[in-house]
């Protein structure tokens, strides 16, 4: 995509363009609606930029190949939907534990199980957070528009590379298949970050020693094939990368990979606030639902209701700081519309507590939440 100027792009296409702009060089995936266009476009585009595309035998293999390619130094990504996202979970956990940078796109569709393949949902927001076993933090970004599918994919790579962690880009079918006119940022405007490579003597390299690099809590990552001869395992390990049975060493490792993200909750939080100043009713929304919420909030304002939209682009780590500020503003209500049976309403409630009612507004089975419905909820709350 060399030419500047406006383009008509689909969310899934914008994700691929963003990934390539961020330096994507390896994609492995398995076709599944509504994410398939991402694989198809990668198959077409990657060889042109010297990258590689592989259609693996399943989603488990795709996630595994992505980890392997990343360890060998390539920026790597996979994309999937519902059932495939479930299959990837074990190896996403591997990437967490072994601290392998990579981006996982999940274009959400209705579940459980095969559900409604072509219909939108937001039912995987907790799975994205907790889908793989064991204690861990997770970075999950969620675009609401085609342009954001591009910019947040770039961000996802930047975060994953600098924090040595998998990052999940959680779209929904609407954003994935939406076509919008966008002006993509020029390469000059784009900030692209790369992982830190080790600097010292190869023999002394410790792949999990966090004090050796520039980024606090994040060890530099050597590439396979550069002569470091290091070990990577999904077993709990010491700074040298080898398995440990010592509770002390183990706890240090588990806490560090949790802490490296948890301690950065604030800087990772991407939020758009619309009319926060004098607001009394708040709407917390994300993904395509946030588009309806925006309409509703604007309409409420037009009708003289002091409503505010909190549009979360970072779902996880949860934007606690933002919600804490909202709590201090003596809100009358926080409304949480979601295309699920109420998943993010719980973390919102945990921060807001008894300060005001936290009102869920839910729809499943592929129906969008309409602006009128959110507006009605706002009106009822004031």
């Amino acid at each position: 995509m060399k030419d500047a100027g406006p383009k008509l792009l689909q969310g899934n296409e914008a994700c691929v363009e963003g990934a390539i702009a961020a330096g994507l060089k390896f994609f492995a995936g398995y076709p599944i609606t509504p994410s398939t266009e991402i694989a198809e476009l990668c198959a077409l585009r990657l060889p042109k930029v010297g990258g590689k595309f592989l259609q693996m035998e399943d989603e488990i293999a795709s996630m595994a190949a992505v980890c392997g390619a990343s360890l060998a130094g390539l920026k790597s990504m996979t994309a999937t939907s519902g059932p495939g996202f479930s299959l990837k979970q074990e190896n996403i956990g591997f990437a967490v534990e072994a601290e392998i940078p990579c981006v996982i796109v999940n274009v959400q569709r209705v579940g459980p199980s095969t559900g409604m393949p072509t219909s939108p949902a937001q039912g995987d927001v907790l799975q994205a957070r907790w889908g793989t076993h064991g204690d861990h933090e997770m970075v999950v970004l969620c675009p609401s528009s085609v342009l954001e599918a591009y910019t947040l994919t770039v961000e996802a790579f930047n975060i994953s590379e600098t924090l040595r962690t998998p990052v999940i880009l959680l779209m929904d079918e609407v954003v994935g298949h939406l076509r919008e006119k966008v002006v993509l940022p020029s390469p000059q405007e784009l900030v692209v970050k790369d992982r830190e490579l080790p600097a010292g003597a190869k023999e002394a390299y410790k792949p999990y020693a966090a004090d050796q690099g520039r980024i606090k809590g994040v060890p530099p990552l050597a590439r396979f094939g550069d002569g470091y001869k290091f070990h990577v395992t999904g077993l709990t390990h010491g700074e040298d990368g080898f398995p440990t049975n010592s509770p002390k060493v183990g706890e240090k490792q588990i806490v560090r990979i949790w802490e490296k993200i948890h301690s950065r909750r604030k800087e990772l939080s991407r939020v758009e606030m619309l009319y926060p100043e004098d607001a009394e009713v708040f709407v917390y929304a994300y993904g395509s639902t946030a588009r309806s919420a925006k309409r509703a909030v604007k309409e409420a304002r037009a009708q003289g209701i002091r409503a505010c939209l909190i549009r979360a682009m970072t779902l996880w780590p949860f934007i606690e700081d933002v919600l804490s500020d909202v709590k201090k503003k003596h809100p009358k209500a926080v409304i949480v519309p979601e295309m699920n049976l109420g998943q993010m309403v719980r973390p919102v409630k945990r921060v807001i507590g008894d300060a005001c009612p936290v009102i869920p507004l839910n729809k499943v089975a592929g129906q969008l939440i309409e602006p009128e419905e959110i507006l009605a909820a706002i009106k009822e709350a004031v």
């Binding site: 060399k2 060089k25 390896f26 492995a28 060889p47 042109k48 930029v49 010297g50 590689k52 592989l54 693996m56 035998e57 399943d58 488990i60 293999a61 795709s62 595994a64 190949a65 992505v66 980890c67 392997g68 390619a69 990343s70 360890l71 060998a72 130094g73 390539l74 790597s76 074990e90 190896n91 591997f94 590439r223 396979f224 094939g225 550069d226 002569g227 470091y228 001869k229 290091f230 070990h231 990577v232 395992t233 999904g234 077993l235 080898f242 398995p243």
Partner: protein, 274 residues
């Protein structure tokens, strides 16, 4: 000159986890000898494994080593090979790892003919989890999950790989230690997917339950039942009963996948229709 293992081993990580009499050390040694005799650059070798007793071997080997999830080593290795085709990528796996949970990856890597050398430490049992049956456990053998004897029919792993389009398949055993080294050397020099079924003994969880009390009993069993491929091919079916062939079972040339893909990149970029 005797081989100095120091260069290839992470001796500081010893003692290893394997039981006395386990065959996995012999197969590991054979891999080291093969690498040494071929004079391969140790900085350009990546060794990848899944989960199991066998899959612990990479932890003791001084290369870039990756110990992955159960059954998925070949898929991880595929990513490495695609990212850096210049590397020799060796997969160490068990019979459960390769043929049960990872069977799908095995056949697809064979079909693609991606340049990996897969060495299956085949003790026909789940060692790590203490003796459940695997897809390689012979009919009638006892395992903790086959207390009345194994009912299912086992795989022939070399035939499986060949059937999937594999371009190199070979078998050897821990009894035939020198032969095993030679077979692995051939596998490592094959340009494409290569598979070695390395029969190994698990005296703890297989032998004791199956009247092969000592490791030596198990190795003697290999000696008495293995037949060189050349002989095997001439044997009538009734003589083959209870025996198995060792040696290179299949070797044909076909384009190696990571090279094929690099060729595509060149072609597409020459056209320059970015």
């Amino acid at each position: 000159m005797a081989l100095s293992f120091e260069k290839y081993l992470r001796t500081q990580k010893m003692p290893h986890i394997w039981c006395p009499g386990c065959g996995h050390g012999i197969v590991t040694q054979a891999i080291i000898r093969a690498i040494d005799e071929l004079g391969l650059n140790t900085e350009k070798i990546a060794i990848v494994s899944g989960i199991g007793c066998s899959s612990r071997a990479p932890g003791y080997l001084n290369f870039d080593t990756l110990h992955t999830t159960h059954g998925r080593a070949i898929a991880f290795a595929t990513g490495i090979k695609m990212a850096r085709p210049e590397l020799k990528v060796i997969v160490i796996t068990g019979d459960g790892d390769a043929a049960a949970i990872g069977g799908n990856h095995l056949i697809h890597a064979a079909r693609r003919n991606i340049g990996l050398t897969v060495v299956c430490f085949d003790n026909n049992i789940y060692g790590m989890t203490s003796g459940q049956y695997s897809p390689l456990t012979p009919v009638g053998s006892f395992a903790s999950t086959a207390p009345y004897g194994m009912l299912e029919r086992p795989f022939d792993l070399c035939e499986l790989v060949v059937g999937a389009g594999g371009t190199f398949a070979a078998r050897s055993t821990t009894y035939h230690a020198r032969h095993l080294v030679n077979v692995i050397k051939e596998a490592l020099t094959h340009n494409g997917f290569s598979f070695v079924d390395a029969l190994s003994q698990c005296p703890t969880y297989y032998g004791r339950r199956n009247k092969l009390r000592t490791p030596l009993d198990m190795m003697n069993w290999f000696r008495d039942h293995a037949v060189p491929v050349s002989t095997w091919e001439k044997m009538p079916p009734e003589e083959r009963e209870g025996k198995f062939p060792i040696g290179v079972i299949k070797k044909v040339d076909a384009p190696e996948f990571s090279e094929v893909y690099s060729g595509l990149i060149e072609k597409v970029r020459e056209r320059g229709d970015e």
